[in-house]
Amino acid sequence: MDSAVSVSGLVKTFGATRALDGLDLEIATGEVHGFLGPNGSGKSTTIRVLLGLLRPDSGTVRLLDGDPWHDAVALHRRLAYVPGDVTLWPQISGGEAIDLLGRLRGGLDPARRADLLERFDLDPTKKARSYSKGNRQKVALVAALASDAELLIPDEPTSGLDPLMEAVFQENIREVRAQGRTVLLSSHILAEAEALCDRVSIIRHGRTEQSGSLSELRHLTRTSIAAETARPVTGLDSLPGVHDAAIRDGRVRFDVDTDHLDGVLRHLAAFGVRSLNSAPPTLEELFLRHYGDELAEDGVRLAGTDR
């Protein structure tokens, strides 16, 4: 099987904390895979297991056809990691850190390095102490992106970047994909995963909740429809898959399960559609639906649902 990462039933505990509780993850070679989950769900822990920095309690883990714990050094030549919380050496400049990490991995491409420094607008002469969080992150990103690694593993790489730099990052990831390399991108930022990822895995409490391509996952979501019709719409509520319908002055708004979209649109057409607006399901929504119950239990009201 042509998979870059293959994890099944992965368990990792820290004392009483069960950080990973039977996690599964499949990443095909050449895909950009989004790894999504709320804080503390186990994203960074999974990545550390994949890097051989943590030893799994049980489960099978394969990375680039090797065992991440036993073959760590050989595997690390073929991958590049960007930590979620980049800490650099206070007395070493950004440029030195980039070269150091690149050389320790087995070399980096000087032309690409120069190009990346320019695109990320990074001053390589500053010492780590005087870098902002975002700039520290850029140092790690440049070091990783300037390598020829087959597999890139950025852990929440854009959490400190401004929107402009985020765009630069996305551009770079697209180029990496175009070169046929694989990316495991952990993120909270759904727009980023939507913009970049071929497939995503959503985890919670150390377990994989959903995994698939964006279109597959959209089956689980609802499309919002707003339409204006010639005659008042009736009978909408009795259709399967329709939620929260509101009809007023010849305008209708409702959400529909994406699987039932076809039937509902046929029904609507019979009333003479004058205008139609549909908002595609977003991962955001998927996320909120997925974690909404959990948040609600914690007494958190989701933005938009309290009005």
Binding site: L53, A74, H76, P83, L88, S93, G95, R103, P124, K126
Partner: protein, 534 residues
């Protein structure tokens, strides 16, 4: 403290908060200080239970430069209480200075480095409040240690007034080092270098007073440790040196406040200079990285130890004079020659230098642990760097660096001694003698490696505990009435006191085996455990 000064707003709350954070640490430090005095008091009273024993003691140490170098001015030795103060004050003052350094540093530069000060200063807290709160907490701890020493001294049968004066001299030493730490915290950007500065100041102060005490010269007055020891509790009972300490502390704290006014939060006094845009050839391997990270510290240690070795070597002459001027000593050491006493003195100097080299070696090994907990090891170990190579690079720097320190300080001592005695032929023999202590230094370092592998979370504290143990055993064990095995666990206790004792192969081989076993345990455990950050 006056809350009328807006720059001090919030000091009271910060003091309470700091005391809560330190509610375990400070009592331990204070107990250590009081415990050392109590233990010494009980031992000395048992050992010197007759006037004859006391006279013999006075004659022996009063002319022994090695003891004076470690302990302090040989005064008040006509009473047991005076002997107690002579034996223990240097160790307790070291404890007080370390307590002051760690307490002041933790609540100033360490908080600032971790970004906690930013959080606090954003609240209703004045500019000087964190600094003054740290100084107050440290001062409170010094006063508490002073009182505790007075109490245990009295309780174990020493004169009350002298006991509290001994406590006050220890507390005063702690206060001065509170001030020094407060200044150091303003000058540097990193806690590590602030501690380095305070440690270096203590080292210089200790050497100045040692030389001054051996020569009987004014040099003791150039050293805060000298001031504190000039109190001479149980004999002269001088108060003036205490006032000198207080004035110096006030001056240092005022200087720290001024420095604080002239810098930005998070920075030191010196602006950060830009670095090179490309890495040089050194930064291409784990060993190169370890060398780069530890280079500055190693150079500072090497210069300090070489100077220290030279100074101690130069004092050899005074050791001879001391002996010649002291007729009782010649009675006490029948058949002893001044040359023999110089050899004993040099053996002590070599072991002091070796103890310092062991402290360096441990700090160097712990650099690996610091890299790990800061998360920087993760970045390196995610590259094609094996765990063995990564840890090995730091351990290599620690072992070779500490050996270099022993070599440099030994060479400096032997050279200066040779020059001043006009007998340069002794250089080779003395230099070789200093090398006999390398295995013991490495054993202490290897223990730190084993701890980093086996128990990363407590490794830092435990490894420094190991250093403190070998230092205390070397400084006071003979004078204390502890069971033999307590001292025998120290690798320095195994090492013959070369050059007065003969170097033996079995001891060197035995210590070498201990080093190898501890290293194997450390590396093995590190390869098989999770990387542990935070």
């Amino acid at each position: 403290m006056s809350t009328a000064r807006p720059t001090l707003a919030g000091t009271g709350a910060l003091v309470r908060f700091a005391l809560r954070r330190d509610r375990l640490r400070l009592p331990l430090w204070i107990a250590l200080g009081a415990g050392l005095v109590a233990s010494q008091s009980v031992s000395s009273q048992t050992l010197y239970d007759s006037p004859a024993a006391l006279v013999a003691y006075r004659d022996s140490v009063g002319s022994n430069a090695a003891t004076i170098a470690f302990a302090g001015p040989p005064v008040g030795l006509s009473t047991v209480a005076g002997a107690v103060a002579f034996e223990i004050s240097a160790s307790v003052m070291l404890a007080a200075a370390l307590m002051a350094m760690f307490t002041t540093g933790r609540h100033t530069r360490a908080d600032e480095e971790a970004g906690r000060t930013e959080l606090i200063r954003a609240g209703r807290v004045g500019r000087h409040a964190p600094l003054i709160a740290a100084v107050l907490v440290s001062a409170l701890a010094c006063v508490a240690m002073a009182l505790a020493i007075g109490l245990v001294g009295t309780a174990t049968g020493l004169p009350t007034g002298g006991s509290f004066l001994l406590g006050a001299s220890v507390g005063a030493c702690g206060l001065v080092f509170t001030g020094i730490a407060a200044v150091a915290a303003q000058v540097t950007e990193s806690t590590r270098s602030a501690y380095g500065i305070v440690g270096a100041v203590f080292g210089v102060a200790f050497v100045l007073r040692a030389v001054g005490d051996i020569n009987g010269s004014w040099l003791v007055w150039a050293s805060p440790v000298g001031w504190a020891q000039a109190v001479h509790p149980f004999s002269d009972d001088r108060v003036l040196p205490l006032l000198l300490c207080l004035v110096a502390t006030a001056g240092l704290v005022a200087a720290a406040m001024t420095l604080l006014d002239h810098r930005d939060l998070g920075s030191g006094l010196l602006p950060a200079r830009p670095g090179p845009p490309r890495a040089g050839p050194l930064l291409g391997s784990p060993l190169g990285l370890a060398i780069r990270l530890q280079r500055a510290a190693l150079i500072a240690w090497a210069v300090s130890l070489a100077l220290l070795g030279a100074v101690y070597g130069g004092v050899g002459d005074a050791v001879e004079t001391l002996f010649a001027d002291n007729p009782q000593a010649q009675v006490f050491f029948p058949g002893a020659s001044s040359a023999g006493l110089v050899e004993a003195y040099l053996a002590t100097i070599f072991s002091i230098n070796a103890l310092l080299a062991a402290a360096y070696a441990v700090s160097s090994v712990l650099r690996a642990r610091a890299e790990e907990s800061a998360g920087r090891a993760e970045s390196v170990l995610a590259t094609a760097t094996s765990r063995g190579a990564w840890l090995g690079s730091h351990v290599t720097v620690a072992l070779l660096g500490s050996a270099l320190l022993v070599v440099l300080s030994g060479a400096a001592t032997a050279l200066v001694r040779g020059l001043s005695s006009g007998d340069l032929g002794s250089f080779g023999r003395l230099f070789a003698a200093s090398l006999a202590y390398v295995p013991a230094v490495w054993a202490v370092a290897a223990l730190a490696v084993a701890l980093v592998g086996l128990a990363p979370r407590i490794a830092t504290g435990a490894a420094w505990g190991g250093v403190a143990y070998v230092v205390v055993v070397a400084m006071v064990a003979q004078a204390l009435d502890w069971p033999g095995w307590v001292g025998d666990l120290s690798p320095f206790a195994w090492t013959p006191l070369v050059p007065i004792e003969a170097w033996t192969l079995p001891v060197a081989v035995g210590l070498g085996a201990v080093v190898l076993v501890l290293l194997a345990v450390g590396f093995g455990a590190f390869r098989h455990r999770d990387l542990s950050t935070g």
